[in-house]
Amino acid sequence: MDFARLVLVIAAKDLRAEIRTKEAINASAAFALVILLLFSFAFDLDPDTNREIASGLLWLVFAFAGTLLLNRSFARELPNDCLDALVAAPVPPSALFLGKALANYVLLLVIEMLSLVVFGIFYNVRWTAQFGELMVVLALGTWALTIMGTIFSALTVNIRLREVMLPILIYPFLVPALMAAIQLTLEFMAGRPVSIGSEKGGWWLMLIGFDVIYTAVTVVLVEHVLVG
């Protein structure tokens, strides 16, 4: 189907450019490493505390690596007015948007898997206790990051809106998703399953709801965002 093809073309383009200048991967790798050095050095805590922090730290790394990566996804189009050409091409803005989101999603997941391994080793946290569930949370949480980050960067490239304090807004917007993700990750690392019905199950709803709603809204709104 044509729409899908376009999405893939865009995604492929972004991925290639990103792979040429390994910017995001390296930045976040360095970030993970240093958090590691500093925290491990700064204090050696008992395993539980360690695990608790680990979950928070993980998502901190993800959020930061994410924003490093995502903020640039439309900014990358600015230098030679490439955005003009994309907007001019017969590509539905939603396809453009999803294409970029997809590329970011892939990169972000790669980075996250890397960090997970590293953290597992140095914080001797057995995060594989409930591998399946953890991966699901990861997928959902990451999509939340991606969708928000991408639309946010689309908004900021648009001159008219740049004065607005958008940077201030992005993180607060993410808080619900991140909270949910952190809580769930915490549980799974502790090896405690979380069913929708259960007391902590609300986090599931929060995370999924966040993804569904924001995806829908952004896909609808992006046209207006991109054409000034």
Binding site: L37, S40, F41, D44
Partner: protein, 233 residues
């Protein structure tokens, strides 16, 4: 020995030195294996005869690299850049050796592969810094610019070396404190002698490796300039 004929004098000397270093190390190993185990730690303690020389050689390489870099910035002569790369790469190898022997030692004495005290951290950081020195060299293709930026990075990186050395003197570290080069040091004399011999051997080995690597650099540079000339006309 057909390949011997076409070697320059310098090469021949290099090979002799290299051979000598290897022999000396072999001899040291033999002597060390003959020693009785240390009372507290037993046989593993002998690893210090490599752990320390490796470290000192590595740190020396860092110092040489720093000097070479400064010389490059002052004189702008490519040979200094070449020296800097060569010696840095060798140094990285030796520092890696120190890290590995160290953490083997740690595994046996402390029961963990790694501990985040200042000495260990700073040594690791030192390694990372010189690794990133090599990385930036890859990121810049224009030779003079590469040499210049690399020199700057190298000088920065060197500042970590004194931190590594002083770390066990400034802080209470899990890593044992000064044994040599300090008044508190309590180390049997004949053992110190062996240590010195091994240190000497390591330094010699390092020099030889550096010279060889340097030779490669020079050849590479000649090839480049020839290729460029070919492109020019």
């Amino acid at each position: 020995m057909f390949w011997w004929g076409d070697k320059t004098m310098r090469d021949k000397i290099l090979y002799f030195l290299g051979a000598a270093a290897v022999l000396l190390i072999a001899r040291n190993i033999y002597v060390i294996s003959g020693l009785p185990g240390e009372e507290a730690q037993g046989a593993i303690f002998k690893i210090i005869f490599f752990h320390v020389p490796l470290a000192i050689t590595a740190l020396t390489c860092g110092t040489v690299a720093c000097v070479a870099s400064i010389l490059y910035l002052v004189k702008k002569e490519m040979k200094y850049d070449a020296l800097a790369v060569s010696v840095t790469e060798v140094g990285l190898a030796f520092l890696a050796g120190n890290l590995i022997t160290g953490s083997i030692w740690a595994r046996i004495i402390w029961g963990v592969w790694w501990a985040w005290d200042v000495r260990l951290t700073s040594a690791l950081v030192c390694w990372i810094l010189y690794a990133s020195y090599l990385m930036i060299r890859h990121a810049v293709e224009e030779p003079t610019q590469r040499a210049k930026l690399a020199a700057v990075v190298s000088i920065f990186a060197f500042i970590d070396v004194p931190i590594v050395i002083l770390s066990i003197r400034l802080f209470r570290t899990q890593h044992p404190g000064p044994v040599f080069f300090s008044s508190t040091g309590s180390f049997p004399h004949d053992w110190s002698m062996i240590m010195m011999w091994n240190l000497f051997a390591m330094l010699m080995l390092g020099t030889v490796m550096t010279m060889i690597r340097l030779r490669q650099e020079e050849v590479q540079r000649e090839i480049d300039s020839l290729r460029r000339l070919a492109h020019a006309f």
